[in-house]
Symmetry: none
Subunit: 194 residues, 4 copies
DNA sequence: TATGAATGAGACTTCATTCAT
DNA sequence: TATGAATGAAGTCTCATTCAT
């Protein structure tokens, strides 16, 4: 049972690396198998097919990330700290899981509708987390009465773009360093009251 | 000569539609050919290979878009109007070229490094356009002394995310309606002085 | 010892069902195992390989069928009753073992030569049983001096075809009802003297 | 157009040989391609998939055989000559198309239901041809009032069995030599009046 | 230039068989 | 004996690309 879990995770980890390196469609199942140290056929004992690997990978990782974000937010008392918590969690997770970050930035937006739909749910939940923080901030008058969707688009979009920039950067750079300058922008955008 | 140009554009237009519909890797060259009303082999008289179609498509469209943005900006006197000009041009172009918008959202983030690198240059140029507006605004004290990269990430990220949201929306919705609420956020973020 | 026999038969019975349902090549060893309620590996404690299952299945069932036919024939005094005994035994066996009937109709004619050759012997023995009855009938002048091989082909062919028809029939139908009309034909064909 | 037909037939002929040699499931598509002297992929320009080859092969050949039988029968004035015409056509066709004969004996009885159903229609039509001759014979009192289905089963079954025997025979033998002895049996079975 | 039939490398996936437990 | 997870060879089919016309 635990052994089964182990091998499942092993394959998932190999998949992140392999897909990050070559992209989902470019990456052969046999490459994932090799990286995981299992036979090609073994993959199919744990996953329905190649697509299923990407979907389950995303759902699993995104799920655990959302749990983490929610945890961090729960510890905060102010809208300002909640926003920073989201940013820190987001950048932290990506920085610690660079390959996963690549997969996220690159492959989530693949157009194959089966994949996109399966992936959509956890992303929408993340959006809801962000929007909840905004709405709560508006209610408590910590922030101005901004358009919630636009604000969420800005917050997620900015973080997402920061991650992409960081991944594409030739010189290694610390993603977490971006928290402060971006937060400064968010604070102004939302007319945040300290 | 013009005829050659015509067919080249014909194929490019077919490619946008085909790729938007199924994604680059899912989309067969023969599908593009069918949509363009030419034989499969004809494609190879105008393009080196399948990858080349995507790259040239992106460079061409992004190039003409940047010319347009620069034009719009040149007509503006204030930082505020310049920002609005970017937003209007961005949303306008996407709204008028929905299929291209899809391709953009999906394929800019190619993990295939050959494609990504070829695509990068025009994107970086667009980034420079945005950053120039920000820098000019800082110099003229229209906006606060913000971190330019962070500001550009926010601006591009927010617009990009707005486009993605719009594409994913089940109910049709007007993208241009997003200009005002998002501009309100940008204004605050940059501490814009009217 | 008996337990070994039990499991051996268990697997054979599962194999008939599984093969009848999907055909030999279509049918996975694991399906037979599941139907038999044993592990995949267990099959290989009793059979050399997948082919071996089919061969042994056929030899076993055909063997017990031939013993039965010979028994029935031994009880008969006339050529006419002997022919009817063959027909009754044949139709009876098939009717009582529908799945085996399917396997027989399908797999006797395997083009895989290893399987075909292994299966051939018991079939040839059945042919000999039929031919003996014919020869004995000719000797005793019960029937005309027909070409023995042709007569056997007709007898076996007609019964075989009746079984196939019965298997393919959409409406369930009683195979044994065919004994009389077919026997009437055989009687004429062989110029049978009561 | 004619060239297309040519390659289609070429592949079909290669398929008969290949399938006859190894059986449908044993036979790789690449073997058919090699025998036809085309690339593997070419097969799929003419056939939907491997199954489709078998189905189309059978329908095509069986169709042309039935046309031939009907032609032969049309030339006959008596039931007796019609029966002989069927036998001659059947044995002749098989003798001239030994590989196809093998495929027929093997694959008509496929348990794969998609194949079986696709193949069924032309076989049923052949049955109808035989039954029509019997019915006409009964009407004209050329033959006794036999059970039509049983008679058809006997006729087809006997011929079918003769073909199988001939295919399995170690020593080459002339199939057409069987016409007379088998016809003698049919004549008796049906109480045929000259 | 234009065509589109043909190519064939290579991908995903299946499944008979093995072997450590 | 029995298990069933793991193996990996092998098969079907796809599709970017070519080339004779």
């Amino acid at each position: 049972m635990t052994k089964r879990q182990d091998k499942y995770q092993l394959i998932l980890e190999a998949a992140v690396e392999a897909i990050a390196e070559t992209g989902f469609y470019q990456c052969q199942v046999s490459k994932i198998a090799r990286l995981a140290g299992v036979a090609d056929g073994t993959i199919y004992l744990y996953f329905k097919n190649k697509e299923d690997i990407l979907i389950r990978l995303f759902q699993e990782r995104m799920g655990e990330f959302i749990v983490d974000v929610r945890d961090q937010i729960a510890k905060c008392q102010t809208t300002s700290s909640r926003l920073k918590a989201i940013m820190a969690a987001h950048f932290n997770y990506m920085e610690k899981n660079r390959s996963y970050a690549i997969v996220t930035q690159l492959e989530v937006r693949q157009s194959d509708s089966r994949i996109r739909n399966a992936i959509r749910e956890p992303v929408l939940e993340y959006f809801r987390v962000i929007e909840e923080v905004i709405e709560r901030g508006i209610e408590s008058k910590d922030i101005a009465n901004v358009n919630v969707r636009a604000a969420r688009q800005m917050i997620f979009g900015a973080m997402d773009e920061a991650v992409t920039d960081w991944l594409m950067a030739r010189k290694p750079r610390l993603l977490l360093n971006q928290v402060e300058p971006i937060f400064y922008l968010f604070a102004g955008a939302l007319r945040l009251q300290e």
